[in-house]
Symmetry: C2
Subunit: 462 residues, 2 copies
């Protein structure tokens, strides 16, 4: 594991193939590493030895006067083996090979030659054919994607480089914080299993989101998954589920998508959570990085609208979340804080006349009761109440009654609800514009939690 330190937290980086032409990847890389705020030493290498963005270039990595931990390589494919040979002689420990034109276009021989060079020198290589690695803890943006990313605790591992770039944009737009964005490319050396092994003990990463089209070594991937999912949730999008999808995957990354059913079972047995699309995957990891996992099976719904209460109940039932029958003593407690026409069963319906005070007291009751493991708080926009004030009350109640229950929210309505949800997210209380998305995230968290509990009571079979 420690051999990936040079990849994730290098003390110095050489960008080989650095360019002063803003349309070139070799320029984007320099620009992103500098503007990303990387604090280690940066060296540039290009044949002309030109100065780029105020930094002098060397004509060879071997001429760099100090040690180089990581080489980022963006030169034409044919030059890559020689460049890596030089890196090896220089003592470089890790390489990110951005260059494409290898196995993915049929150049198997070139890829194997490249691999034999890095193996000879013990260099760990990401790629070839990757868009790079962004790692927030090192403030290192060694990608040709967006220059700035919202830092956080989700590690995003993707087989598709294009998706990686798109996801950096997506994460920024929805203010989803990522610890890592890493593109796997052809996986000649490092693959997803290596990444998972690294994230097990990476303190900045709380959850992993992975897009794969096919695994190189299924058994090893499963073993790494089994290991990490005991500590951290892993959400996987595996495409190529259908016959035509698999055919498309084969012509995209050359992956053998394999029988989908096998992946399904393998993921389940390894405690990984399979999502159908990445909006869903992001919904799930958002909850998992913001809230503790549920401590028991009993879920309580608090709402101000009957309709959303019914929808949420349906979604919970279908997803295997237990809407607990409310014990009588709790019923009487809730009765005290709501109008006579409210409903003190589960869903607890505070009615459309519920102001911030009602929400505060209802959530407080729920958080203080040990029989409850998770709470879904719903708000349906009304003409008389203020969603932002109610969001604040939910955050306050949550802050004042810190506990290890899982709280999710959904605010259904217009612009004010949107503002309220942004506020909740800031307080690490995840919110979703429709209840079904909150339920889907909570259900995934429950599945992971149940898996972990089962693993603890049984001998580990890895």
């Amino acid at each position: 594991m420690s051999d990936l330190k040079a990849l994730f937290s290098p003390r110095s980086i050489a960008i080989i193939g650095a360019s002063r032409n803003p349309k070139k990847i070799g320029y984007e890389l320099v620009n992103n590493i500098i503007t990303g705020g990387y604090e280690g030493r940066i060296y540039l290498v290009n044949p002309e030895g030109a100065e780029i963005m105020g930094i002098k270039s060397y004509t060879s990595v071997k001429l760099i006067p100090e040690e180089v931990d990581l080489a980022v390589v963006a030169v034409p494919a044919a030059y890559v083996p020689d460049i890596l040979e030089e890196c090896g002689e220089k003592g470089v420990k890790a390489a990110i090979v951005i260059s494409s034109g290898f196995r993915e276009v049929g150049n198997v021989e070139l890829e194997e030659r490249t691999l034999s060079v890095v193996r000879k020198y013990g260099i760990r290589m990401l790629g070839p054919n990757v868009f790079g690695l962004y790692y927030a803890p090192s403030r290192m943006n060694a990608t040709f994607g967006l220059a700035r990313v919202f830092p956080g605790s989700i590690a995003f591992v993707t087989q598709s480089g294009a998706l990686g770039i798109a996801m950096m944009g997506w994460a920024n737009l929805y203010k989803i914080g990522v610890s890592t964005v890493v593109s796997m490319g052809n996986k000649a050396d490092l693959d997803e299993a290596d990444m998972l092994d690294y994230f097990v003990s990476d303190e900045e990463t709380k959850a992993v989101l992975m897009y794969i089209e096919g695994a190189k070594d299924g058994r090893r991937l499963m073993s790494s998954l089994k290991n990490i999912t005991l500590k951290k949730p892993v959400v996987i999008i595996k495409s190529g589920r259908t016959e035509k999808g698999a055919a498309a995957a084969a012509s995209h990354t050359g992956s053998l998508a394999g029988t989908d059913r096998i992946y399904d079972v393998a993921f389940r047995q390894s405690g990984a959570l399979r999502a159908t699309d990445f909006a869903q995957a992001f919904d799930w990891v958002k909850l998992m990085t913001m809230q503790p996992s549920p401590t028991n099976d009993n879920c309580l719904i608090i709402t101000n609208g009957g309709g959303v209460g019914v929808m949420t109940t349906d979604a919970c039932e279908e997803a295997g979340i237990n809407i607990m029958p409310l014990p009588e003593d709790l019923q009487s407690e809730f009765k005290k804080i709501m109008p006579v026409f409210g409903n003190f069963r589960n869903p607890v319906d505070l009615t459309g006349q519920a102001y911030e005070e009602s929400y505060y007291r209802a959530l407080e009751l729920a958080l203080k009761d040990n029989r409850i493991g998770s709470v879904i708080v719903l708000y349906c926009q009304t003409a008389i109440t203020d969603p932002v004030a109610i969001a604040k009350a939910i955050a306050d109640a949550s802050e004042a009654n810190k506990c290890n229950k899982t709280v999710v929210t959904s605010f259904v309505g217009g612009a004010q609800c949107d503002e309220a949800m942004r506020k909740l997210d800031e307080f690490s209380i995840p919110s979703y514009p429709i209840p079904e998305r909150a339920v889907s995230a909570l259900a995934a968290y429950y599945r992971w939690q149940r898996y972990r509990l089962m693993q603890r009571s049984l001998p580990l079979k890895i």
Copy 2:
């Protein structure tokens, strides 16, 4: 049908229970009708005969000197029968009874007395216990929800008033235009079937979105559905799917949710499309109001990213959309407009280097070919291309090659993609932030289209 003209397009409205207290529903109603831009005559009625917002009030509807088509009633429940008696004597043709406190709280007798009054005078009544009716063609906002709504061609019919208010906000936030928002409440007189019958020939309504918890008269609802779905798509969210959900529905609106399976079959047989949540429902009607329905089963995917192409293929396969094998002549045409390493099968992968020109030419090829019935255009954010310019190219190609194919798009990425999608929506080319949502909408459109074609070749059984 024509007897609902007084409800949807009254020449004059009396608001009975109008209030000058901004916290009262009787004030919200006056405010919304005035600021909504209603151009007919407005009369106010309240016991004090006070002036409200510059309009004089009458102490009784009977004292209004001119004819009143529609009465909007917001007085305490107990007074409602007498108020409607007066309306009947005055010759009022339709009434919206906002007041609650009837069957939904066990006051069955009061509701039946109210119904007998409107029956006696032939008044058509919406309610009681509704949040009102917004109807864009009349610029009539007779609700206590939001004052302004984005006008458009979706009719939203909801059993839950709270959801109606929330959905008005939602529609505004996502710039979804609605022709109607109507809350059904206790359905003492008018119910969903009446609304559907009205929308059949309502030129401003292109699609209906309905939230119901249970039907009063299932057979009649089915008959109305069968009738309208021959002309316009109807998307239904029916909650109370599960046992606990049904129990929650019973305590919310007193609906007998019934065996869900029966609803499922009934909706399918009537050509209605059942959505699982309202985000999905809005996704579907967005496509259906913007684009013509697909003319044949063959779908073509155009993409700049292999990953999203694979995901979309999977989603299509699972949803029953036929990803057509591309005929050789079309393959050669596509080959001409893409880089050598592009993929001219289906999905057609223009590669990450596809600029606006490539998109324009690829979409043009697809739109000009009669073997293609629908097109899914995907864009995955890259470091070098401009999503807004590509959106423009898609809109231009679509405008220059007007045809009856269905076009949907998905732009995956950050803020620029979001901007690009807003532009596409303005050009009536529906776009979605993940491909799976575009596919889900297209699949629903196909299901409706197949249903209609089947109905045409068979004798209609209504």
